[in-house]
């Protein structure tokens, strides 16, 4: 799917630039996809044939890698991405309650984006904050010692 600001011509151009950046690397597919996602927020379907051609891979090989890894998105996320840890150590520190409270507060379920596109709530399995949990990454920034009544670090500033 195409989105504003990522027409097929501009995607092709961006792909060429990013591929060139990694020209001297072996096995460069993942770093290329990561750079593309960092630039656009997702990896558009139109990038697959471009990258395949540039790396002399089949489209199936590129699509196969792209669809294997949890990090890659095929569509843009919400304006803010909150990754909430669901793994055992956070469970043992009240993680399930924090997840439920946050879902209620934001009106969005784990794995989904709110209807207004403000926030995407995603599960993550361990941030290495296992003695400080429940923990989360908010736009790549770690936060810990969350609780049902301490969700503020997960909410956008000015949110009720």
């Amino acid at each position: 799917m195409d989105h504003e600001g990522s027409s097929s011509a501009s995607v092709a151009q961006l792909c060429r630039e990013i591929v060139a950046r990694h020209a001297d690397r072996e096995g460069a597919l993942l770093p290329i996809l990561q750079d593309l996602q960092a630039a656009l927020g997702y990896v558009p379907a139109g990038a697959v044939p471009e990258i395949a051609r540039a790396l002399n891979l089949t489209r199936a090989e590129v699509h196969g890698a792209l669809s294997f890894y949890h990090d890659f998105r095929s569509a843009p996320a919400g304006r803010r991405v909150v990754k909430l840890c669901q793994a055992e150590a956070c469970q043992a520190r009240g993680g399930r309650r924090v997840t439920a409270a946050l879902e209620r507060r934001l009106g969005v379920e784990l794995g989904a984006t709110s209807a207004d596109g403000a926030v995407t709530l995603e599960p993550v399995y361990c941030l290495g904050l296992c003695a400080s949990g429940p923990a989360a990454l908010v736009e790549g920034r770690p936060v810990a010692r969350l609780a049902e009544d301490r969700l503020e670090p997960l909410l956008a500033e000015g949110m009720p």
């Binding site: 990561q34 055992e88 150590a89 043992a92 399995y125 361990c126 290495g128 296992c130």
Partner: protein, 518 residues
């Protein structure tokens, strides 16, 4: 000049350390004081974070759980002189029982030195391992690793010296050293802490591995869930290149070693070594059948040494102090120290490096101080999501590869997750299978299908449907996954499931449902 240390470790940043650093700088400026602020790693007692330390004539004095808002008052109360009196004052951190009880060989510098400074690392004893290696020669290094008894710290516990010798003996136009920093196990953070707090130690360990095996290129594969570790390692690698400690002529010794960071993309299975190789090659992270072993045909088909962060980080000590100095610690066939990670519902959680042999009960009740919640301990999961749940009856098990295996468990990467009496072990068993289903690479049937079928069977047991028949089916399924899976993901998922069933059968009984978990 006042010197203040504020951790930049993820566990400190996550509870406000960056804001504290800003407040310290602003307060010092407001008072017209010269301040040198060093962002260290964490010492590993996470309940104390953000732990601010001030250099004084009597050593570094700590102030625990400092909030940015408190900083002006703390400074007014004499923080910059290390004056006691404020409730946040804890004296010298190394005098706390949690640190006094440790034997820090690998984590000796973590939380103390400036992790971006090559010079700070050298001043604290860094690069002595490389100097020793150059006089021993490659074969001498391999012999030292063998003699130290060091075993792979990633989980499998395979003797490191044998792996090193295999790659060293392989003849090929090129070889690789890979550091597996895909630390995906819940309850573990030692790799992350080391990369953020003492990255040059890992670089030195990798250089030594390259020297011993004849590899001139290293890859460091770090999971994307660790953005600060990626940044810390990249900074350290850049600094090491600038100082001539990586590149075409390492330390002027005529050795080439290049090091590149690769970032994972959210697949737990890529912590499995062959899936990790596929991932660096730019493919789906699917497990390879063995043989061939990576030591013979690994990355891009070349002989490859692949070790965990903690394995490689143990190497500089072994070379600098001698294999015997390392092997003198430990018990049985588990030699040296293990950075144990205390996590979950525990009062004094964090990193506790100690010689093998300490019991699980000592770790949880004495060192860890029991639960943070104050509720009774009911279970501990040791070794990550693929590790067994141990009941209190097994808390006399010593931390040792063989002792845990003999009791149907594993120590894995050294994580201990404590659960209180509200835990529902049926729900935990279900989670283990669900996690396996989410993370399965799909290559082998027992793991790909067994995990999903397992979740369904547990749900039927929970609903009270044909309980006896479904319990038998679950055990049969676990047996199939254990024996029939290609790698540890499918092969070890039965550990949490079967241990839950064996040690906590009441949670699977018709009268179950004490309360929902937590």
């Amino acid at each position: 000049m006042i010197r203040v240390f504020v951790p930049g470790d993820t566990a400190a940043v996550a509870v406000g350390a960056d804001e504290v650093a800003v407040a310290l700088t602003a307060t010092a400026r407001g008072r017209g004081l010269g301040l040198e602020l060093v962002r260290t790693g964490s010492r590993g007692a996470f309940e104390l974070e953000p732990l601010v330390e001030v250099e004084t004539a009597t050593g570094r004095i700590g102030y625990a759980r400092v909030a940015a808002e408190q900083v002006p008052a703390l400074v007014a109360a004499g923080m910059f002189e290390g004056r006691p009196g404020h409730p946040a004052w804890i004296g010298r951190p190394e005098d706390l029982a949690f640190f006094r009880g440790q034997t820090r060989l690998t984590f000796a510098r973590c939380g103390i030195v400036d992790p971006v400074s090559v010079e700070a690392y050298r001043a604290a004893g860094g690069w002595r391992g490389l100097a020793a290696a150059l006089s021993l020669g490659p074969q001498g290094v391999v012999d030292a690793i063998k003699a130290s008894g060091l075993r792979g710290r990633g989980g499998a516990g395979f003797p490191a010296g044998i792996k090193w010798a295999t790659v060293a003996a392989a003849s090929a136009p090129r070889k690789f050293v890979i550091c597996n920093a895909d630390e995906g196990d819940s309850g573990t953070f030692a790799d992350r802490m080391l990369m953020e707090g003492d990255p040059f130690l890992l670089i030195e360990g990798m250089v030594l591995a390259g020297f011993a095996t004849g590899a001139e290129k290293g890859y460091l594969y770090i999971r994307s869930e660790y953005p600060l570790a990626v940044r810390a390692m990249q900074r350290a690698i850049d600094a090491a290149y600038a100082a001539g400690l990586l590149g075409a002529d390492v330390a002027g010794a005529g050795i080439r070693f290049d090091l590149e960071v690769r970032v994972g993309a959210g697949a737990y299975v890529c912590g499995e070594e062959t899936a990790l190789l596929e991932s660096i090659e730019g493919k789906r992270g699917q497990v390879r059948a063995k043989p061939p072993l990576p030591a013979h045909q690994g990355l891009f088909g070349a002989p490859t040494l692949i070790n965990n962060v903690l394995t490689l980080a143990a190497v500089p000590f072994i070379l600098a102090e001698g294999a015997k100095a390392y092997a003198d610690y430990g018990m049985g066939r588990s030699r040296g120290t293990m950075p144990i990670q205390l996590a979950g519902d525990i009062r004094h959680g964090g990193l506790f490096e100690t010689a093998f042999g300490v019991t699980l009960g000592q770790l949880i009740d004495e060192i860890g101080g029991g639960t943070l919640s104050g509720r009774p301990v009911r279970a501990a999961q040791v070794g990550g999501p693929l590790g067994a749940y141990f009941p209190r009856a097994l808390f006399d098990t010593p931390f040792d590869y063989e002792a845990f295996a003999a009791r149907g468990g594993l120590i894995g990467h050294g994580g201990v997750v404590v659960f209180n009496d509200t835990v529902d072990l049926l729900q935990q068993a279900r989670f283990a299978l669900e996690f396996c289903a989410v993370e399965s690479c799909g290559k082998c049937t027992p793991c790909r299908l067994g995990s999903t079928r397992g979740v369904e069977v547990v749900d039927r047991i929970a609903a009270g449907q044909r309980r006896e028949a479904n319990l038998a089916l679950l055990q049969d399924l676990c047996e199939t996954m254990k024996l029939g899976s290609l790698c540890a993901l499918g092969g070890f998922t039965p550990y949490p499931v079967m241990s839950a069933l064996t040690h906590f059968p009441e949670d699977f009984s018709p009268a179950r449902r004490p309360e929902p978990a937590e």
